[in-house]
Symmetry: C2
Subunit: 355 residues, 2 copies
Amino acid sequence: MHEITFAVLGTGGIGRRALEVSQHKAALTPVAACDRHGVALDADGLAVEELLAATEGNIDSGLDDVATDGGDTATSGGSGVKQHGTQRGVVASEQAVATDEPIQAIIDAGAEIDAVLLALPNYEHDFIPRTADRFIEAGYSGVLIDVLKRSRVIGMLEDRRDALEDAGITFICGAGATPGFLTGAAALAAHSFVEVESVDIWWGVGLKSGYEDNRGTVREDIAHLPGYDIETARDLADADIEAIIDDHDGVLEFEDMEHADDVLLERAGICDAADVTVGGILDVRSDEKPTTTTVSVTGRTFDGERATNTFELGDETSMEANVNGPALGYLKAGVRRNRNGEYGVFGPAELLPRF
Amino acid sequence: MHEITFAVLGTGGIGRRALEVSQHKAALTPVAACDRHGVALDADGLAVEELLAATEGNIDSGLDDVATDGGDTATSGGSGVKQHGTQRGVVASEQAVATDEPIQAIIDAGAEIDAVLLALPNYEHDFIPRTADRFIEAGYSGVLIDVLKRSRVIGMLEDRRDALEDAGITFICGAGATPGFLTGAAALAAHSFVEVESVDIWWGVGLKSGYEDNRGTVREDIAHLPGYDIETARDLADADIEAIIDDHDGVLEFEDMEHADDVLLERAGICDAADVTVGGILDVRSDEKPTTTTVSVTGRTFDGERATNTFELGDETSMEANVNGPALGYLKAGVRRNRNGEYGVFGPAELLPRF
């Protein structure tokens, strides 16, 4: 497979880690990175170390990065944005230039970009779909890949299938850890069975040292807590989030989360969405995982047995490692599909062999 | 994806189970089955129940099924072949006709066959490659997929890459349980790591009720025991095999087996072949697995941690379930590649997303 060039949309925690992780794979060359303040472009490959160093501590959230034109940065962690005089976010890098149209800048260089990673937490249900619209309208042809979490977003992307196919875009959705890595693990584990009865995904994340870089993710997780939703979580001030964390002594437990693993596994024909459950424990005051991330797939074999196959992640693997490796792996698989003329919307499980 | 038609070459344990398992998936239609005695063909789909019932107890080994023209059946379990007067093997089915050229019969119907599963244990190193040659020479264009085990065979297939590409054949090799299912699990588990240090595959098989149907597989496993090799195992009479089993009280333990998981993972860029170890325990006197089948992938994350991800198969899943589900899943993935014009040789890990 030829070398792959890619861009990251958003230079918060996920975007910066994707750039860093890609440095370990020769076949992956990051050629662009942007946030709402500007864009860094280099067809020969970005100098990732400089960009990461210059934007270190940049916790300008995914939302403000690109989703809204302007908007109150303070409402989503923007107060921590790296400032160099008037320079904010990616513009702090000497490779970047300021622009009000970062996405357009990426699209203008689209011929040299095989894939664009939408490294943005998404609070608004239709944020990722609207971002897809902007790429469609601007004439981008290639791979778009996101790490979205919410089940309801998949249907919004499905509504755009024809437009994506006409544009020659292969959209890979939900390609992070969960959904993503663990969705794929469930699809693979299902091969023992002629009927999958249940898929249980249980994750553990210790985020002490990564908390500053992942406030957007924590905010999005809080939206899964009883009494909160995407809108209310989005409007929380940092102080509110700190208060919620204090109330839980730093350990947030989630049950029956709305994670797209369910609809993505159903799309792939693995099982019914109703048979998939996702939950987990987030500890923002320790790097130790509060529980072992496990995928359990229970099914019936052709010869009448009932069994459970399990996939466990080592407790020493960080959330960042389990999001970015899979995201880049799915990105590469998406580029293969795109180069073969397979356009439209695909979930992680659809990129795996399936029985 | 459109419906897929496939043929099975060999109606021993693996071939018959593949036909049975495929009945659980609407997208898979078996249209042909053959052994060295004859062939059953029906473009609308074989009546699998009749064929299985008619050939029940057929333990004519994979080798004698097709590999050799004639040959002494008694040397590889042929003594148990179903006999209907002069009818042997698949010809016992009312859907089958006797022929001396079963492979040619399959190839003549090749336009209606998307994939051919080579459901044959392979004792001779070059048996699968030679079978590939026969399909190439006869002008077949489609997917060939095998469940071979030996590392050395992969190189022989790689030597035929150009011929396979010219013929329009997508050859999927080592697509059973191990290599196959567990190779894919290792490739997926590797996504957490920027460097994989080791892959340890450990399998457990309880084969009491499946022993008669899987003598070919047992014979091939014996070739992995100290003091035996492919040639000596192939020449063992059934009585010799029984004696070996008795000597081990029915429980055979294997270490450092020559399983192609190693070269298949290296081909896919997951790790070096030398970092892969395969072993396991076979109990032919109990259906209970003597040990839990586990894949352990140890590596280093981008952020400097060292960890082990693990994939475990439920003890209640049979060898047949873990061979045939994955084989048919990889078959479907191979057909997708073939329809996209991707020809040549692919291992299981190459059909998965890879970071």
